[in-house]
């Protein structure tokens, strides 16, 4: 059975628009000018609150500048970047961050899809069910991080007590005492918190899958598994990719869980946490700004990679295609 994808009816129209420049009437161009004027205040505001701090960070990153020794400020060019890029900790933290991103997004995709199916198909207590699935996402990350830290805590947690029948968990397992245990705890907290978000995005995709096509597949004798892999998944590819993109970027910037649970001990510090340590803890505005610039660039790179690799069409996902 071949893959069934809904036809993209407007494709030809789009190509036409791109191909030749349409003639613009006076009225349209006047409307366009008015549009620009109307949107200008918002653009100026955006530039003020986003572009200005970014440029400021870029500027600061070229200095040796420490908040508690302001007189010691000096221009050092790209030295800060060289320091960071030649530092083991930077690469170790990047590795840890990527690991967290890959594992959590993969797990969340699977669980989130299951949740989305439940939310989509459920017939009774629909509102209640959807609400309860979404609750974790409504909880502040710091709060959920503390809750999970207490759960895994050696002194007052329940994880050791409940799961000590498993061969690798003992009554006195110190979950924050080594890399893998700590990473597990951090990822559990992260997954618990953001799976509902993933489910929500996937639910939107599921709703777009045409019931007619599913009907037709059923009539053709497709099994449940075939309907899933040949009809449902291909038709919600755009939604899946958007969900993966959003969550991957989010996960790459993980901070709260690590800050609360381990404070970066046992090598669990993420790239955001390392940046926090330079800017906030050490008050190294120069070095820290350089780190934030690198963090920004890596997020940008990541977004580009995902969009290119998976050929996500954001416009199509929003239903504008």
């Amino acid at each position: 059975m071949s893959t069934a994808v809904a036809p993209e009816t407007e494709k030809s129209g789009k190509d036409h628009r791109k191909g030749s420049k349409p003639v613009v009437s006076d009225r349209t161009s006047a409307e366009n000018r008015l549009g620009l004027k109307l949107v200008a205040p918002a653009v100026v505001l955006m530039l003020l609150v986003t572009a200005y701090p970014m440029l400021q960070a870029l500027y600061l990153s070229l200095f040796r500048y420490r908040l508690t020794a302001p007189d010691d400020r000096a221009f050092v060019g790209v030295d800060n970047y060289l320091t960071i890029l030649s530092d083991d900790q930077f690469w170790l933290s990047t590795g840890t961050t990527v690991l967290i991103m890959v594992v959590t997004v993969a797990v969340e995709l699977v669980i989130g899809f299951a949740f989305a199916m439940v939310m989509h198909r459920i017939v009774f207590a629909r509102g209640l069910m959807r609400t309860s699935i979404l609750i974790p996402y409504g909880i502040i990350t710091v709060v959920s991080a503390f809750a999970w830290q207490f759960a895994f805590s050696l002194n007052n947690g329940f994880v050791n007590a409940w799961f000590s029948w498993l061969p690798w968990i003992a009554e006195d397992t110190n979950w924050f005492g080594d890399y893998w245990h700590a990473m597990f705890a951090i990822m559990v907290s992260e997954i618990w918190k953001t799976t509902p978000f993933m489910a929500l995005l996937l639910l939107a995709g599921l709703a777009q899958v045409s019931e007619d096509m599913l009907e037709a597949a059923k009539v053709d004798g497709a099994t449940w598994w075939q309907r899933l892999t040949k009809v449902i998944l291909p038709n919600m590819r755009a939604a899946i990719m958007v969900a993966v993109l959003f969550r991957a970027l989010d996960a790459y910037r993980i901070f709260d869980n690590i800050f609360v649970m381990t404070k970066g001990a046992e090598g669990t510090q993420s790239i955001s946490f390392l940046t926090y340590r330079q800017v906030i803890e050490q008050m190294q505005l120069g070095l820290g700004s350089a780190m934030s610039v690198l963090l920004f660039l890596s997020v940008l790179l990541l977004a580009w990679l995902i969009v290119k690799l998976f050929r996500v069409d954001l416009a199509q996902a929003r239903g504008e295609g």
């Binding site: 040796r64 508690t68 960071i84 530092d87 110190n174 924050f176 005492g177 001990a265 330079q278 070095l287």
Partner: protein, 412 residues
């Protein structure tokens, strides 16, 4: 109490300059000692209200430093941890203590260690308020079972062996935080060494942690971490969890600050009766131990709108009676001999314990006074944590790392 303080500060924020000026004192969390002192020292000329800082000393530093760097006039008085005093003074955040206040502090017998920790570039920059130190707490029943004579000075080796052989766990502070460096510093100083020399050189100070004393310190941490006496939560232990370990059935020895003595009165009266105390353990047998030095000094912000009043208020906040009231309520011991004479204090604590506190403060080894302490401390935490990873190469590795971090060649 906290609600009251919050309400009053909100009122002040709304009320503006009507009535008496309000001095805002940023305090570290405690069990009401500083609030009581603030109330006592409020006069017709000004009222002192308190605002609570985070629990963690490092976070206290960050909050204060960031606001002071922005020249925030809303901070008048602040409770400062000694290791960060130099950094704040060097950055020009603190008003100098006036001569008459200095004389008062000397008159009331302020401990030399407290004055040293409050001084930067030969200027007194904070008012020593309370001076804390650690002693070795032990369970009387446990040492009886283990058969150790606690009337003589004991060494770390001795207590680790005794605890391992008798199923006890030793409570220390070894999470990745300032408290762990407090322990490391005490071990190094106890072996006659120091973490760094020539702190006035700033980033060019000489790091001496890799010397023999550092090796001794690493040896003790390695021994404890790999012994039966290491609690399961060693790598995340702080003052509180170490206290819980001590109060449990496996409790044997504990190094902790003075306030822990009152910790078990209500929750575990049996444990409270079983507590013994003696001088901090020796790093090297026969060489006097150097207990950790902690405490709080009160700094006056250089950017305060009411600096004169704040300096006057600070003088009252650290008078012997205030120190006594605070010590009685919180167990954080006074920074002066006259403070120790406060009557209620004599009733709350046994006389021999008060004496032990004073001799310990006298012998205490403060962490080196340098504006770069947070870098030094952070670097040590990076390399020496977790405790089970400590071996004989650790001190040397941390020396190189501290040097790199100070010179800006390495991330922290």
């Amino acid at each position: 109490m906290a609600a009251l303080a919050l309400a009053s500060s909100l009122l002040a924020a709304c009320g503006g300059d009507s009535g008496t000026p309000e001095l805002v004192w940023y305090i570290n969390p405690d069990s009401g000692g500083q609030d009581a002192v603030a109330e006592k020292c409020s006069t017709d000329d000004y009222t002192i209200s308190t605002q609570v800082l985070p629990q963690d000393a490092g976070q206290q530093r960050i909050q204060l430093a960031r606001r002071l760097a922005a020249k925030d006039p809303e901070i008048d008085l602040m409770s400062l941890d000694p290791p960060f005093t130099a950094e704040f003074a060097d950055a020009g955040f603190l008003a100098e203590v006036p001569q008459d206040a200095r004389e008062q502090l000397e008159q009331q017998g302020t401990f030399q260690g407290a004055l040293d920790a409050a001084t930067w570039n030969d200027k007194l920059v904070v008012f020593p308020f309370w001076s804390n130190t650690q002693v070795l707490w032990y369970r009387k029943s446990f040492v009886e079972k283990a058969g150790i004579d606690m009337s003589q000075p004991v060494t770390w080796d001795q207590i680790i062996d005794a605890a391992s052989e008798n199923g006890g766990k030793i409570g220390v502070q070894a999470n990745k935080y300032e408290g762990y460096v407090v322990w490391i510093n005490a071990l190094v100083e106890g072996a006659g060494g120091t973490i760094l020399e020539n702190p006035e050189e700033g980033v060019d100070a000489e790091i001496t942690l890799g010397d023999e004393a550092g090796q001794k310190a690493a040896g003790i941490i390695e021994k404890l971490a790999s012994s039966e006496a290491a609690p399961a939560d060693l790598s995340v232990s702080n003052e509180g969890t170490a206290g819980s370990t001590f109060g449990s059935d496996q409790g044997s020895f504990l190094v902790n600050w003075t306030y822990i003595f009152k910790n078990y009165d209500e929750t575990a009266p049996d444990v409270a009766k079983d507590i013994g105390y003696t001088r901090y353990p020796q790093t090297v047998e026969g060489e006097e131990s150097r207990p950790p030095y902690g405490g709080i000094g009160i700094g006056v912000s250089a950017y305060s709108d009411d600096q004169e009043l704040a300096l006057e208020a600070a003088q009252c906040l650290v008078d012997p009676e205030s120190q006594g009231i605070n010590a009685d309520l919180t167990g954080n011991m006074p920074a002066s001999t006259e403070g120790y004479e406060y009557e209620a204090l004599q009733e709350t604590f046994p006389a021999d314990l008060l004496e032990l506190f004073q001799t310990s403060v006298d012998a205490a080894a403060p962490r080196t006074v340098t504006p770069y302490w947070s870098d030094v401390s952070g670097s040590i935490q990076n390399i020496w944590h977790p405790p089970r990873s400590v071996d004989d190469e650790t001190p040397e590795r941390s020396t190189t790392f501290i040097e790199d971090v100070l010179k800006g060649g390495d991330l922290l």
